[in-house]
């Protein structure tokens, strides 16, 4: 919102409250349901989880207060936690730069189409709305070593003589999960960039044209800097979301092929997957699980600040 309307609105509301002092109870009433629900179903669980993270509890028996021992164990005696953190970061590094690059190029090309803009926008957005379960099944079917369509195509083209064991290779499994993430989110990135490009005033382009700027030059000197805030937004939100990665790896290994937890040698285990395993599936260590969740929360806060600083600062230099 522009400051002008804000000032106008502020003045108007001050007038209003001066004249209608009885009105004041209404905003609180309107805000109340949200606030009440938030404190009941979001804030209380947050506090309760933190309190649990200081205890040893299996969900049924007595809770034993252990102080920060859950956190100490997690950070010093649980190599799987670091492995899951490492996996999560590798998958993020594999997917985020590609999504930014492809999303921007795709948006740029579609933006300059004279016909079929809405059609291509809609089609490319479809993966984003698909149920992750479907994505997991389809990908694990496509990359299955025996029956998978990818191996079938490669064999038909005589590129390989026998099926490759895609899902059992630690690096391949990470790459396939990255591919799932890219496939699902590319349309979203494209849509955000398209909206950003639409928001750039057209007279800037006309001025550039008059000054003799064309094609690539215009793109790098005008479009790219104008999209900086959007790129920062996309990087920061994909890091926040990426650190909570769960659906894709879990569903790739959950249903179709061998239901191994964590993929080959835990190469696909993410932090949230480990959190879910420790607290609900392989064990019911609620205290320890809460400690994982809170540690991840701290990491998310740190990395969103860091990525914001880095990506916002990089643009200022150029």
């Amino acid at each position: 919102m522009s400051t002008e309307t804000a000032v106008k609105q502020g003045a108007a509301s001050r007038l209003r409250t001066a004249r209608w002092s009885g009105v004041k109870v209404w905003p609180y009433l309107f805000a109340l349901p949200f606030i009440a629900f938030y404190f009941t179903f979001h804030f209380y669980p947050l506090v309760y989880s933190f309190w649990l993270s200081l205890h040893d509890w299996n969900g049924i028996g007595a809770k034993t207060f252990v102080g920060l021992r859950n956190y100490v164990t997690l950070l010093t005696k649980d190599p799987l936690f670091y492995k899951s953190l490492y996996n999560t970061f590798v998958m993020m590094l594999m997917s985020v730069p590609l999504m930014i690059l492809l999303g921007m190029v795709l948006a740029y090309l579609i933006f300059h189409l004279t016909k079929g803009r809405l059609l291509f926008q809609t089609i490319n957005f479809l993966p984003y709305i698909t149920t992750p379960v479907a994505i997991g099944f389809i990908f694990s079917f496509m990359f299955d070593w025996q029956t998978g369509i990818v191996n079938a195509i490669l064999m038909k083209l005589s590129l390989v003589t026998e099926g490759y064991y895609w899902l059992q290779d630690p690096w391949m499994s990470k790459a396939i999960i990255a591919l799932m993430i890219i496939w699902r989110n590319l349309g979203y990135f494209m849509a955000i960039y398209l909206a950003g490009m639409t928001a750039i005033p057209q007279d800037i382009y006309e001025a550039a044209k008059v000054d003799g700027s064309t094609g690539l030059h215009t793109f790098t000197r005008i479009t790219l800097p104008m999209l900086r805030n959007i790129t920062v937004f996309l990087i920061v939100t994909s890091i926040i979301g990426g650190l909570q990665l769960f659906d894709e790896p879990k569903l790739l290994y959950g249903g179709w092929s061998a239901s191994t937890s964590g993929g080959p040698d835990n190469a696909a285990l993410t932090v949230i997957w480990k959190f879910i395993n420790d607290s609900f599936i392989t064990g019911t260590r609620f205290g320890y699980g809460s400690a994982i969740a809170y540690t991840l929360f701290v990491i998310i806060v740190l990395f969103s600040i860091l990525s914001y600083r880095l990506s916002a600062g990089k643009g200022e230099k150029s």
């Binding site: 209003r16 606030i35 669980p45 709305i129 994505i135 025996q146 029956t147 609620f286």
Partner: protein
């Protein structure tokens, strides 16, 4: 240059559609025949696959998913719109505090309080019902944030002021004047909640232990373990699970994409 451009657009579009296409084609095959060649042309087994799917609890699960999504839409959109209206259109002491509150709560990942939430739900007696999956939408910070922005931009303060001078009560002003103006925002938000609650996998997986209350994502992913051989039937089930969101999306695709990108372009 122009050819390269078209090849790129078309390649990406084909890749976007290919898995959908494979899913639809596979749902028309007899399971054992899928692997004899590439399932790229439709076969004739669709009806039998659908029959297999409906022999399971599919209909009840489908109804569960619809209940969850519709209830979540009603609950989430209602509370978001009310607080959005309050923060955007009233001047009161806590206005700015509430605005910050919404933005800060939007940054907290839902999983952090997950264990506490599950224990709370058990204590409230909702352990094996659909309630945990619905109630999580009761205070949806993104929705509130979206509504504050939307109502601020679309409802002119003067109209509300006029109605007040004419002596209309606050609930009436909200219902008869503000609400009709913010219908597009409500439509966008409803599509979003429907989509996200329909596709949600993690929360129902850990909160619902009772097979009677399974939602589609959990049901289909566990179905995989029970009937692990019938790929055709499972693909038919998946296709049917994808259908409602596809319809919802195609009906509102223009406003929907606008809504989902609104936060990014402004912030």
């Amino acid at each position: 240059m122009k050819i390269v451009k078209w090849i790129f657009i078309i390649a990406i579009t084909v890749i976007s559609l290919f898995p959908f296409y494979v899913m639809l084609m596979m749902s028309t095959y007899y399971s054992e025949n899928i692997f004899k060649g590439l399932p790229l042309i439709p076969s004739d087994y669709l009806i039998d696959n659908l029959r297999t799917v409906f022999k399971t609890d599919f209909l009840r699960v489908y109804a569960n998913s619809l209940t969850v999504s519709i209830a979540s839409v009603v609950l989430g959109v209602l509370t978001s719109t009310l607080i959005g209206y309050a923060v955007a259109k009233f001047h009161f002491k806590l206005k700015h505090a509430l605005n910050y509150f919404i933005i800060i709560t939007m940054m907290v990942p839902a999983q952090v309080g997950l264990i506490g939430y599950i224990i709370e739900m058990r204590h409230m007696g909702f352990g094996n019902t659909l309630m945990p999956v619905i109630l999580t939408w009761s205070a949806w910070s993104f929705g509130a944030f979206f509504m504050v922005q939307f109502i601020r931009d679309t409802v002119p303060g003067e109209i509300l002021e006029c109605a007040r001078i004419d002596g209309a009560s606050e609930p009436r002003i909200f219902l008869n004047i503000a609400l009709p103006l913010i219908k597009p925002g409500i439509a966008t938000l409803s599509t979003l909640v429907f989509l996200w609650s329909w596709n949600s996998y993690l929360l129902p997986l850990v909160t619902i232990n009772n097979a009677k209350s399974f939602t589609l994502p959990v049901f289909i992913s566990t179905l995989g373990i029970v009937h692990r051989t019938d790929y055709g039937a499972r693909m038919a089930a998946l296709a049917m699970a994808t259908l409602p969101v596809l319809i919802v999306f195609l009906i509102g695709s223009r406003t929907f994409i606008k809504g989902i990108t609104a936060g990014a372009v402004k912030g």
